[in-house]
């Protein structure tokens, strides 16, 4: 045991040596906040904190502890053995054991020992932050660019004082096309630009690109990275969010239409509430505004039970809101006041309350699989005009149906009893799959029957699960009048749906009854004509089964089995029989003959049947039960029609208002440990405005606060992102963190000037592109210095995918919409068997389905989007598994071969020109042509195993793979 303690102490000593490294203070503070303060607060403060001074000891500051209480100092810094506090919690002899009721766990005691040994540091209360000191909280000032050298005419260049060598035109068009569209320029576009010698040639290219629908597909992706877009929810089974794509397309459209950035933010935070304030909003506008709030609803879901872990989803929302719009890590204030930025826990829960008062759509999860709370994309006025009347009609039909059915239920019970008590079995049979039996026997020759009694043929499911299509032939003859015969086939086949009950040939309106006999006799009410588009296949049924149907055709009908012409069938349900009833219109003696046959061979089910006489006058009750039949049939028909022609309301994965309330601070981020309620409000450092009473969640106000022209952050953060995606690095190199932990801007005046220009342009993102790409800095030959100079960059995962498709000629340029997710009724995803799929297509990769717990393989390989957290900046890693993709991936092979085949119709000369123009936007050199010819002929010689006609294609495909694998293809200068 001693040795264990010795080991333990050595370990702790080591641990402390280690923590005194780079971030010693942070780590000590963190250790205290996580391991010590909570214990003191929860266990000790009730007797030794604030005004409570049991034993004259307070434990709410280091000073109090060192001063101690009645028995002396409770804590001797660095001396665990001397510290009464430790002795007390260790319950050593001669010291009052603390806490008195139950000992602390050993791990906690070890923490205290650790803490005291390390000096018992009590973190200084975070000093009140003086926001005026940090640049990012001061509104940007419009400083006119300095007068630099005369050569630098562009304001951006005057700030940067840059004088870089300009890049050539081919480099420029390739650069700007990839930067704005994420695609390579076409050979024609390059040629046109080269031929245009006017001073505005580049401007014209930029205008063409900004007007292209592909611009939004490229730039939406930058925003989708920041808002960690995904098509699944991310909880334990990663349920699909099939409507999320609408938000993705909303972002694409917003960029394409140059939606002012402030409006873009307002719509994403409060589109639904804005829609409520617009008079006569059009259907399209309404749908757009609702869809925009996908920004909030795509927040990650957590756990097995979303409702239980919803607080984590709100945390995720607040975190992403802070990073994406304000460039602030608000999320840090979830457990405690932010240690570096002026954001308090009260600030955090002020925002939290706004989102806690918001209803998020429920994508489904392991515990509750059915999605709910999707938002209809129909304005309330339209809802009123189209949907409401329809819903009213449906409700009326349902109400009447219910009234009739309730009345029938009582009658049904009486009938059931009457049938059970008076049934006399005449004959019965049972046979195996594919068989057939005749109804015969003396009992069928002379059946005494009274008017109002019934003969009933029941077809029963067999003992296992069997229930099958049963061909029924039945004839009832009046013994006294030999020509009076009731043949079911003859009577009902031609006009089967005329009624149930069905008339006979003698004018008796209710003779044949088609009955659901699972729970006493009940008429099959649902009439289906031309079942599954099979003309002449007419059915009475209750759901799929039980059912009665006919083939009314003069020819056999091939369905799940072949039905001979003019035939009548019954099909029981797995849980009970179906019956054919003959309601006697006569008083006398009848003879019954017939046959029951399995009409659907296979499945090993077979058939059981029974013929009964219901020897009681059930007529009155039966007739009463059918009085309402025509009305019921009519109502059912109306209902089917109403459902079939229901106005189709599309749904969005969007938020709505929930019950508004303020939230209580979660102490240390623990939702079970609640502190004071804080009013719903904005961050104090940005004004601290509170949500006025009776104004809902406060999202509408939040949207205004975020985009106020006085907000020092919003414009700066976005212009920095735009800059970053043109130059590789931002002016602030931490685009999601403008707080004190972020990097200082490299050219603060330039950033401010851009931010002011952004506001002056009406928050136009396209105006920012025009401004930036027209600077000499952007037009320069790339340098590796970064920070305001053009840089060489690798294509992103999406650009790589799209560029390969584009140059191969296989790119489908149409916009993508929804994904082929399985039908939501079939969702049974669990963490054992989570949703997982890859849906490939030849559209642009922004339209690929992105999951949260499993990455698309291409994106995993090439530093693609992270769907779990806001990503302002992607990595560029270079690993050999990426090279394996170019060497061996079926996609690369298929697309090179596809291009090789397309080139077959051209002359060899044309092919070289075309390929270099497409892939590299430049002509082929004579050296390259020679090398290629050499390669192609050597390679073909190596293809002895390939049919001769195929060899040129294979060799060309190989050469194209080489070009696609080249650095010239993957990097943009």
């Amino acid at each position: 045991m001693n040795s264990v303690i010795r080991h333990c102490l050595t370990g702790l000593a080591f641990w402390f040596a280690a923590t005194s490294g780079v971030c010693a203070d942070d780590m000590d503070d963190a250790f205290f906040e996580k391991r010590i303060r909570p214990v003191l607060a929860e266990t000790c403060f009730r007797c030794h904190g604030g005004q409570k001074t049991s034993g004259r000891l307070r434990v709410d500051s280091a000073e109090s502890l060192s001063k101690g209480g009645e028995t002396g100092p409770a804590l001797v810094s660095g001396q665990p053995g001397e510290s009464l506090l430790l002795k007390a919690i260790r319950r050593e002899e001669g010291v009052s054991a603390m806490p008195p009721d139950k000992p602390l766990p050993p791990a906690v005691i070890a923490d205290f020992e650790t803490w005291i040994k390390a000096g018992a540091k009590w973190p200084a209360k975070v000093v009140a932050f003086r926001s005026e000191q940090h640049w990012a909280f001061i509104a940007p000032k419009a400083v006119w660019p300095p007068r630099g050298s005369a050569a630098a005419a562009h304001p951006i260049d005057r700030f940067l004082n840059s004088s870089e060598r300009g890049a050539d035109k081919r480099t420029l068009i390739r650069r700007v096309t990839f930067d704005l569209l994420g695609l390579p320029p076409s050979p024609d576009e390059v040629a046109e630009f080269l031929a245009d010698e006017s001073p505005t040639a580049f401007e014209r290219v930029v205008e063409r690109l900004l007007a292209s629908p592909h611009y939004g597909e490229k730039w939406a992706r930058h925003w989708l990275d920041v808002v960690r877009y995904a098509d699944t929810a991310g909880e334990t089974a990663d349920f699909p969010a099939p409507h999320a794509w609408r938000y993705r397309n909303y972002v694409i459209n917003a960029f394409n239409s140059d939606k002012p950035y402030d409006e873009f933010i307002r719509e994403q935070v409060a589109g639904d509430l804005i829609a409520g304030h617009v008079e006569n909003v059009s259907h399209e506008r309404y749908a757009e505004l609702i869809t925009a709030t996908g920004y909030l609803s795509i927040a990650r879901r957590f756990g097995f039970d979303l409702d239980a872990d919803h607080f984590l989803t709100i945390d995720d929302t607040v975190d992403v809101l802070g990073k994406s719009v304000l460039g602030l890590s608000i999320g840090c204030a979830r457990c405690h006041d932010h240690k570096y930025d002026p954001i308090s826990a009260a600030d955090y829960y002020g925002l939290y309350g706004i989102f806690e008062s918001t209803r998020y759509p429920f994508p489904g999860c392991e515990k509750i699989k059915a999605p709910r709370d999707m938002v209809p994309l129909l304005a309330p006025s339209e809802m009123e005009r189209f949907v409401k009347p329809h819903q009213q009609r449906l409700a009326d039909v349902d109400a009447e149906l219910k009234r009739l059915n309730d009345g029938l239920a009582g009658l049904q019970q009486q009938l059931k009893e009457a049938f059970v008590q008076n049934a006399r079995v005449l004959t019965q049979g049972e046979f195996d799959d594919g068989g057939s039996q005749e109804m015969a026997g003396p009992a069928l020759e002379h059946i005494e029957i009274k008017r109002g009694e019934m003969l009933q043929l029941l077809i029963l499911p067999r003992a296992n699960h069997g229930a099958d299509s049963t061909l029924v032939e039945l004839e009832i003859a009046d013994v006294r009048a030999a020509d009076r015969r009731w043949n079911v086939t003859r009577d009902v086949v031609d006009d089967f749906l005329a009624g149930n009950p069905h008339a006979d040939r003698y004018g008796n309106k209710a003779t044949w009854f088609f009955l659901d006999s699972r729970n006493g006799p009940a008429l099959l009410r649902e009439a289906v004509r031309d079942l599954e588009q099979n003309v002449g296949l007419n059915s009475w049924r209750a759901g799929d089964t039980p059912s009665a149907w006919v083939n009314a055709n003069d020819a056999p009908l091939k369905v799940w089995t072949t039905l001979p012409p003019k035939t009548f069938y019954l099909h029981p349900a797995p849980n009970g029989p179906v019956a054919l009833g003959w309601f006697s219109p006569i008083e006398g003696t009848v003879r019954v003959s017939g046959r029951v046959s399995d009409a659907h061979r296979g499945g090993g089910d077979g058939i059981a049947w029974r013929l009964e006489l219901i020897a009681a006058d059930v007529s009155a009750r039966l007739m009463r039960s059918i009085e309402s039949a025509p009305r019921l049939a009519e109502l059912n028909r109306q209902r089917t029609e109403l459902l079939a022609f229901a106005p189709k309301v599309e749904l969005a994965y969007a938020v709505a208002e929930g019950p508004s309330h303020d939230t209580r601070i979660h102490l240390r981020g623990d939702p079970k440990s609640l502190g004071d309620a804080v009013p719903r409000r904005f961050l104090s450092v940005l004004g601290g405005q509170t949500v006025p009473p009776d104004s809902g969640s406060g999202r509408l106000q939040l949207a205004e606060w975020l985009t106020s022209r006085d907000n020092p952050l919003t414009a700066r953060v976005m212009v920095n992102r735009i800059w970053k995606h043109h130059f590789g690095t931002g002016l602030v190199t931490t685009p999601n963190d403008f707080g004190t932990r972020g990097e200082l801007p490299m050219h603060p005046e330039l950033l401010d000037w851009l931010a002011v220009r952004f506001l002056e342009s009406g928050w136009s993102m396209k105006a920012m592109h025009r401004l930036i790409v027209s600077s000499e800095a952007y037009l320069a030959w790339p340098s590796s210095a970064g920070g305001g100079q053009a840089t060489r960059r690798r294509l992103s995962a999406e650009e790589l995918h799209d560029a390969i498709l584009a140059v191969s000629g296989d790119l489908d340029r149409s916009p993508g919409e929804s994904h082929p997710f399985p039908d939501e009724k079939t969702w049974g995803f669990t963490q054992h068997s989570p949703f997982a799929a890859v849906y490939e297509h030849d559209r642009r990769s922004v339209y690929l389905m992105l999951q949260r717990i499993k990455r698309h393989p291409l994106f995993a390989l090439f530093d693609g989007p992270d769907t779990a957290a806001s990503t302002p900046d992607r990595f560029t890693t270079t690993v050999p598994t990426q090279a394996l993709f170019f060497l061996n991936d079926p996609f690369v092979h298929a697309k090179s071969e596809s291009l090789a085949r397309r080139l077959q119709s051209l002359s060899e000369e044309q092919r070289f020109d075309r390929v270099f123009a497409r892939l590299f936007s430049r002509p082929v050199t004579s050296d390259e042509r020679d090398a290629a010819r050499q390669f192609l002929s050597d390679y073909q010689r190596d293809l002895a195993d390939v049919p001769e006609a195929e060899r040129p294609v294979q060799a060309w495909a190989a050469w194209l793979r080489v070009l696609l694998s080249s650095n010239e293809f993957l990097y943009v200068d």
Binding site: W15, A18, N736, P834, I853, K854, R855, N888, R961, E968
Partner: protein
């Protein structure tokens, strides 16, 4: 008994892959000159001297019952059927679980080795190696859901996605071999929480786990689709193009690094299948693992492949025995543990013995763990299964500077709660990093304005299990 280094250095690897080929005649020397530039996987010095250089992380998916394997509880035998009153996360408010009764372990425990540590009859082969094992009987974690606990055991974070421990080790130490990735995961099926288990998350993508699925093509795109001679022609043409492109661009190191990645990919196409080709292993070795000759799947295959990857300089190899279903999650019947233990027992013991006799156990740390234990109780005393139990469970370490034959920590008499010396997952991770020479408080990465660690703000090195 001396360990034969197959590839002694990164540079050696490069030379051997390129030597004698018709590729890259001009640039090789130039590239070798700036070998470490822009190479995220270059070997990096540890924080302190350490014995362990590599890790084989054995993850038993589904939750292995501690009281039926490595944590003997005679009192649980004695008290079978006694009612216990607990507010347990898995049984709270669960219909039918209003009352909880102690449930008897179904396998006998016996002392093994010189240390005399008791192991149950489920693991007879591992028990033979007990003198090489440092057993921890007091592990605990924060969540009793598979997804969260699996994420936590791999990333230290039970809710949010974070980098995997393998990614952290790759980031901290780099890799001595560049023909293979630094972090590889051999898993027959997807685990709980999917690819997040081996993701690098905010660490650079070069540190993510490379997935190996036992079978015909264990690694994505590892099989050349054209013959070697054709591929070499393609690569030579590519090298010529890239060389010209590089020269025109001032030898930009990013471009040079990518040129080199094709060389290593070419090498990887040979090195990886070679590593997964067990045909040169002796019958005796195969028998040690219990692997039939010619078999290309099963945990024995995974274990032997892991040894071969470690021999070739892969820094961190994780083996997942099953996946998110058909695993140790024996709610229905504890007897299912028999099948699962049989699947891994001999292969694991074979791995320990094989590493030991090759002198590799000294610098290879074997970690055996699972996401949580199983309840020592259930709603019926004779219930066949056990539920999830995050309060206490067992895991062990072997080799790589650990103290074999030790037992650290204990649970109460019924195996319900930690009785002494609790080891949280953060502590477990801190200990693993320490054994590799990494200080868990200094292995940080700045992301979103904060320095992140595998152990967040916690973690204590369990020095008691160090040799």
């Amino acid at each position: 008994m001396c360990r034969q280094p197959i590839l002694s250095s990164r540079r050696g690897a490069l030379q051997s892959a390129v030597a004698g080929s018709l590729l890259w005649p001009g640039i090789v020397s130039q590239l070798l000159a700036d070998d470490s530039a822009a190479d995220p996987l270059a070997s990096r010095p540890a924080h302190h001297a350490a014995k362990a250089k590599n890790v084989i992380f054995l993850f038993m998916s589904g939750g292995v019952s501690h009281v039926d394997t490595f944590d003997p509880k005679p009192k649980l035998h004695a008290d079978v059927g006694k009612q216990v009153v607990l507010d347990h996360p898995e049984t709270r408010n669960r219909p039918g679980y209003e009352k909880l009764f102690l449930k008897r372990p179904q396998w006998e425990f016996r002392p093994h080795g010189e240390c005399g540590t008791e192991v149950s009859a489920l693991f007879p082969h591992v028990a033979e190696c007990i003198d090489d094992i440092a057993l921890i009987r007091s592990l605990h974690c924060d969540h009793s859901n598979h997804y969260n606990a699996t994420l936590g055991m791999h990333t230290g974070s039970f809710n949010q996605a974070r980098p995997s421990i393998g990614s952290w080790v790759s980031y901290g130490l780099g890799s001595p071999n560049n023909n293979l990735p630094s972090f590889m995961v051999i898993a027959p099926h997807s685990p709980y929480a999917g690819g997040q288990v081996w993701a690098s998350d905010f660490l650079p993508g070069s540190h993510q786990g490379t997935l190996v699925v036992p079978g015909a093509e264990p690694m994505r795109n590892i099989k050349p689709r054209v013959s070697s001679s054709r591929q070499q022609r393609e690569l030579a043409a590519l090298a010529a193009m890239n060389r010209r492109h590089l020269a025109e661009r001032g030898n930009d190191p990013a471009l040079a690094a990518r040129i080199r990645s094709f060389e290593t990919a070419f090498g990887m196409q040979i090195a990886a299948p070679e590593a997964f080709d067990l045909s040169k292993e002796t019958d005796e070795t195969l028998a040690l693992y219990g692997l039939p000759r010619g078999s290309t799947s099963g945990f024995a295959w995974q274990c032997l492949a892991a040894r071969r990857l470690i021999e070739r300089g892969v820094r961190f190899v994780e083996l997942i025995d099953t996946g998110s279903s058909g695993n140790w999650d024996s709610h229905g019947d504890m007897l299912d543990h028999v099948r699962l233990a049989k699947n891994v027992d001999q292969p694991i013991a074979g791995l320990i013995k094989d590493l030991k006799r090759r002198g590799m156990l000294d610098d290879t740390l074997i970690v055996w763990t699972t996401e949580f234990g199983r309840t020592p109780f259930n709603n019926l005393a004779d219930a066949k299964g056990r539920e999830h139990h995050s309060w206490a469970f067992s895991s062990w370490l072997a080799g790589g500077g650990t103290k074999g034959g030790t037992v650290y920590g204990s649970t109460d008499e019924h195996g319900i709660r930690v009785a002494e010396n609790g080891v949280h997952v953060n502590d477990f991770h801190a200990t693993i990093l320490h054994l590799l020479g990494l200080d868990h408080t200094r292995l940080t990465y700045r992301y979103a304005g904060r320095d992140y660690r595998l152990t967040d703000v916690a973690g204590r090195v369990v020095t008691e299990v160090l040799a």
